[in-house]
């Protein structure tokens, strides 16, 4: 009984801000007043508020660019990681383990250790403030994890499959493309979801490597909008923006929960 009481009490504390957020994000922008923030307005202006944020801060181009980064980079990342895993495990690349260590070692660097050289290097190479530049760094960050999961996955597949396919005259690349890649779809999907979330939420690379509204990732753009909360962006508009830009990662995760759990367990156990 005490257990339930504690849980309910804590739960209420947690629900308070959640409630305030939902009620006020749906409130018409002009009707906001901190003193009556807990009273619902009866209107549902969430999308309208978000529309105002998109218009006011020019988030449209930024949202499109972020969608591009969050889809293209993980796709490239898992493909490149899968190729590496395939050559190391299935084609038995000489010194394969060292190649693997080299690639996987890329995960240990904190992003702070990369920012200065990337900023200076990108400026010199004309990649600063370009979509290509962001896609490159996001892809590179994805590769170690993808190589790790896919290497594990491919070590669990019987080698006789490879031999049989080769016997039938398929080239090694064809075996990869038509047999190994489709087989590893759950693992690829799990890594894709993790990386999609990482890129969608990224703040620091966007902050360091971009400048113009259309190239900036949306979280960075939102962070810029923040200072305007004091400078006149109505609170409901800010709340709606914060809520709606968070949605894609939630939707993706909920929609693919099963696939995600299956992919990860396949990747880790074998």
């Amino acid at each position: 009984m005490i257990r339930r009481a504690v849980l309910v009490l804590l739960g209420l504390v947690w629900l308070g801000p959640t409630y305030l957020l939902l009620v006020n994000a749906a409130r018409p922008a002009s009707g906001y007043d901190p003193a009556s923030a807990w009273i619902p307005s009866g209107d549902f202006a969430l999308l309208e508020n978000f529309g105002r944020a998109v218009e006011g801060a020019n988030l449209g181009g930024s949202l499109a660019s972020t969608a591009l980064y969050s889809v293209v980079s993980p796709l490239l990342g898992v493909l490149i990681g899968a190729l590496a895993g395939y050559v190391i495990v299935v084609l038995r690349l000489r010194h394969g383990f060292w190649w693997f260590l080299l690639i996987f070692g890329g995960t240990v660097f904190p992003s702070q250790m990369l920012l200065v050289p990337l900023f200076v290097g990108y400026s010199d190479a004309g990649l600063y403030d370009s979509r290509l530049g962001l896609i490159l760094i996001y892809t590179a960050i994805n590769v170690p994890l993808a190589a790790f999961v896919l290497r594990n996955f491919y070590s669990g597949i019987a080698f006789s499959i490879f031999e049989a396919a080769r016997m039938d005259g398929a080239s090694t690349f064809r075996v990869f493309w038509r047999i190994y890649l489709p087989m590893s779809l759950p693992a690829l999907a799990a890594v894709f979801i993790l990386e999609f979330t990482f890129i969608w939420n990224d703040l620091i690379f966007g902050l360091t490597l971009t400048q113009t509204e259309d190239v900036r990732p949306v979280m960075t753009a939102i962070a810029g909008l923040m200072t305007d909360v004091y400078a006149g962006t109505p609170v409901p508009v800010g709340l709606a923006a914060g809520l709606v830009v968070s949605l894609p990662t939630v939707v993706l995760f909920l929609a693919t929960q099963r696939l995600f759990a299956r992919g990860l367990s396949l990747g880790s156990v074998q």
Binding site: W14, I88, M113, L115, N201, M226, V250
Partner: protein, 277 residues
């Protein structure tokens, strides 16, 4: 069978990692030993930047704040998450009791800070509703604690969920046996359940340790490390020294410090985990 051609499969991965992760890492380590403003070529300065680290009041503040973040994360999102998990994992409808804690997890990145800013600001909801006049984001270290509370609100759910998964997967028999021997409540938890869920706790705490050392996003969006520099963390200091003050050499030294601290903490933590089991 394929000769040199097979290197074509590993080349994209190796090249991307080498050019965009390894090379910048080494370059930052070199820059930390130079005086560099991003315009003129870097000039060798030996350990001058590192000497400055020990003599910098702002760095002392950000080290203190980072420490608050690390310890606070262990106690609040992780510790409270464990509490909620233990209270709810074996009661009927336990999942429903956890819903309030999972909802905030839907917010992400800057979105989280975005929705809390009007709550914590000076004429914000918290002050008006509570009938007080507190400058939540002004005084140090209170502003760091306020942000930690926001972080707890968002992160408790996911930590709790991990603990629940762990609790539900531990074997029933030792717990039943201990119950028959008369153990219950705290003693049952402390001597039977806690040791059994140790491997999972190690992972959750380890992840929280590393990510809290690198706290950046929430501070950047809510206070930008201010007012003045009193809520900076090491990661924020690194960013500001580099891209606001254009002191690339010193910023790199802070990045190296952060890397060393993170590496050392992970190493000590892992060693303790290995010797303990």
């Amino acid at each position: 069978m394929l000769g040199r051609f097979r290197y074509g499969y590993v080349a994209p991965a190796a090249l991307l990692v080498a050019v965009l992760l390894y090379a910048p890492f080494v370059w930052t380590a070199y820059l930390s030993l130079t005086r560099y403003d991003g315009l003129e070529p870097p000039v060798w300065a030996g350990l001058a930047n590192f000497a400055k680290l020990f003599d910098d009041a702002a760095l002392l503040t950000s080290t203190r704040n980072t420490l608050i973040w690390v310890i606070g994360t262990m106690v609040l999102p992780v510790g409270l998450g464990l509490l909620v998990a233990v209270l709810s994992y074996d009661i009927r409808g336990g999942a429903w009791f956890r819903v309030p804690f999972m909802l905030p997890y839907a917010l992400s990145g800057a979105g989280l800070a975005m929705v809390w800013s009007p709550v914590l600001s000076h004429d914000g909801i918290a002050n008006v509703l509570l009938g007080v006049d507190t400058a939540f984001l002004q005084e140090a270290p209170a502003n760091t604690f306020a942000m930690l509370a926001v972080w707890t609100w968002q992160q408790l759910g996911v930590n709790c969920l991990l603990f629940v998964v762990g609790l539900q997967s531990i074997p029933r028999e030792p717990i039943e046996a201990a119950r028959l021997d008369g153990a219950s409540g705290w003693r049952l938890f402390r001597h039977v359940i806690w040791p059994l869920m140790r491997p999972l706790t190690a992972v959750v705490v380890g992840l929280a340790l590393v990510s809290s050392l690198k706290t950046f996003d929430i501070v950047w969006v809510l206070t930008q490390g201010g007012p003045g520099r009193n809520s900076e963390t090491l990661a924020v200091t690194m960013y500001k020294e580099t891209f606001v003050a254009s002191d690339y050499g010193y910023g790199s030294a802070v990045a190296v410090l952060l890397t060393v601290v993170t590496g050392l903490a992970s190493y000590l933590y892992l060693r303790r985990q290995v010797t303990a089991t």
